[in-house]
Symmetry: C2
Subunit: 146 residues, 2 copies
DNA sequence: GTAGATAACTTGCAAAATGAAAGTGAGTTT
DNA sequence: AAACTCACTTTCATTTTGCAAGTTATCTAC
């Protein structure tokens, strides 16, 4: 059923990078440090497109570039990704931004609407840093409003 | 990061079957109709165990059987699975229980605590049918409480 | 108590998917 | 027009998967 599209190592990572980092182009995915091979990347982008999750739109200013963008169906994966992020932060001690992510648990709905707003407005700034900067304050304010 | 465990076709399906169908044993997974090969199943069960997501406990009454059970870390995947289920129901027209699942969206927290209760109490009855029977009524009652 | 199931795996091997590296071709900069 | 960038293809070695057929330890029936 619905797990079929994500039964591989890369597809969800691509969706995540589109959603919370500001990735748009083939090059950005390729050099993102995860080390995906270009043939696999091309294949996954094509399959995600076929599944109606992303949509390629050529850039006007530069005819070589293609901007991949999440569809509505794609952005609707935000809750899944967020829950997975929270789960990972809770159970895998590794990451540095763990405590930050765990705070997200309390503001799930707020973050989800922020993610969707960014998508609607084509805001490509990475999500995490913006939260890192402004969100800590705001979280503090809403929780124990001095 | 946290996506590594689920970067394959079977692991999430196994977790799902443990969580919402009442699967416990190797045999049940093997004959579940999804068609997983026994070598792959053995491998995935081992990897899920290594990741601390499931835990094998031999059955007392039958020394051949091993009951695989989700750990706390495993059951904490419930929100992810539920969101994925809802996403699938919303965007993949295929399944019959779609409308049922979509109703779950409104009772997310209730369902999640039900899933965890079943886990704690080792209630192995499949989740969906029980909802199919009793939940429709209950959903109706809480929403437009006549 | 032994013959035959049953459960949980292994093993062997062919087919498919993946990864690394090098190429291609259209579009852009200088 | 030469060099460069971007989004792919192609090739080929390696890895992973899927299928079928064991294997071992435990039951169950006679």
């Amino acid at each position: 059923m619905c797990l079929e599209v994500f039964g591989d190592r890369w597809s969800l990572l691509i969706v995540r990078d589109l959603m919370v980092r500001g990735y748009r182009t083939f090059k950005e995915f390729q050099t993102s440090g995860e080390g995906i091979a270009t043939n696999i990347l091309a294949d996954r982008l094509q399959k995600l497109e076929a599944a109606g999750i992303i949509n390629p739109e050529p850039e006007e200013t530069d005819g070589r570039k293609i901007n991949y963008r999440l569809t509505q169906k794609g952005i609707d994966l935000a809750p899944v990704l967020l829950d997975l992020l929270i789960w990972g932060a809770r159970h895998e001690p590794a990451d540095a931004s763990c405590s930050l992510i765990l705070k997200m648990d309390k503001n799930r709905d707020q973050i989800l609407s922020e993610v969707e707003r960014r998508w609607r407005e084509r805001d490509s700034t990475p999500l995490i840093p913006s939260f890192d900067a402004g969100m800590a304050r705001q979280l503090g304010r809403t929780q124990r409003h001095k």
